[in-house]
Symmetry: C2
Subunit: 180 residues, 2 copies
DNA sequence: ACCTGAACACCGTTCAAGT
DNA sequence: ACCTGAACACCGTTCAAGT
């Protein structure tokens, strides 16, 4: 008779996310993930083609969660920025993973839509995409540098984030509306 | 009698950089690096404590090279941005490596100095650090997203980069001088 | 149908032994 | 003094054999 399944894709991805966040990518081994869901490593290959596919699933799940928080924060740009930063602080490893070449590009498309919508409301449809790319590039770079510990020259990081957001908005508004 | 050395740290790092750029981090194995400099893997441990130390040396060499190009481009912000982008395009893997947590934070400090100097000339010393962080965060994030293939919604990427730089400068100038 | 033990290839790393 | 063969631990992955 057909044997009932002993775990689920969701449980596997959840276990992988925990291991990733706890010990970085090196800790996300097939054996460790399998152990967490009560199975042996070879069984995982029934669900994911290989480790890269599992990483992609983790990235995708992370992007979906982020997208949901963006959805709740739009169309308030400072709120979007705050949500993004808090998410990166809480899941630094998953945050990094999302922007890894092999994995993520597609997973992000949907989650970024609330950002485009928000920015479009500020600068108009014509520059919406360019402006969204400006804002996401800044925030993503800032958080990546912050997480990597690259801000070593002192100063208040929170204040630098506020300054960046404020200055960015000033530039967006100045560039879109009439000049003075 | 003392055996003459069969390679140098510089040659090892150069070989590592080539392998990294050609095949990503996974291709940078101790055996492959050793093979490229005509030696066996265990010999590398005389020069670098472990693979992570070698990666750190690669990151450091990359950051130094980038710093030299920044030095030549300062204090022209658009020129700095163009140099940065060209460097990222030509060495995407090394560029990514620089911002990996375990490796790089310190290697960047010196190379970023020309950027701070340039930005200070635009907004004054008071906001120099915040403004430099805004600019580097934007550029780094943009390039990372571009390299990762995350800009999938169409549009002209070159134009988006120009737009970002222009808008950023507008914000910086508006925020520093008197308002209107 | 699903799971696993055993096996293979590959990698990082150590160390005693070579020259 | 420097280098290396051999060995060890560990990982990703495959597959025939179990239930």
């Amino acid at each position: 008779m057909p044997t009932p399944t002993r775990t689920t894709n969701e449980a596997v991805v959840a276990a992988a996310r925990e291991l990733l966040e706890a010990g970085g990518p090196a800790a996300l081994t097939m054996q460790a993930v399998a152990g967490r869901v009560g199975v042996r490593a070879p069984s995982l290959y029934k669900r994911f083609q290989d480790r890269d596919a599992l990483l992609a699933a983790v990235a995708s799940a992370t992007a979906d969660e982020l997208g949901a928080r963006f959805e709740a924060a739009a169309p308030d740009l400072p709120q979007l920025a705050a949500v993004y930063r808090e998410f990166a602080h809480r899941h630094p490893e998953a945050f990094r993973l999302i922007f890894t070449a092999s994995v993520a590009p597609m997973a992000l498309q949907r989650s970024v839509e609330p950002v485009i919508r928000t920015v479009a409301g500020m600068v108009g449809e014509d520059h919406a995409l360019d402006a969204a790319r400006l804002v996401t590039a800044w925030a993503t770079g800032f958080l990546q540098l912050e997480i990597a510990g690259a801000f070593r020259l002192g100063g208040d990081i929170d204040a630098a984030f506020e300054y960046g957001l404020r200055t960015l908005i000033a530039g967006l508004v100045a560039g879109s509306g009439r000049e003075c």
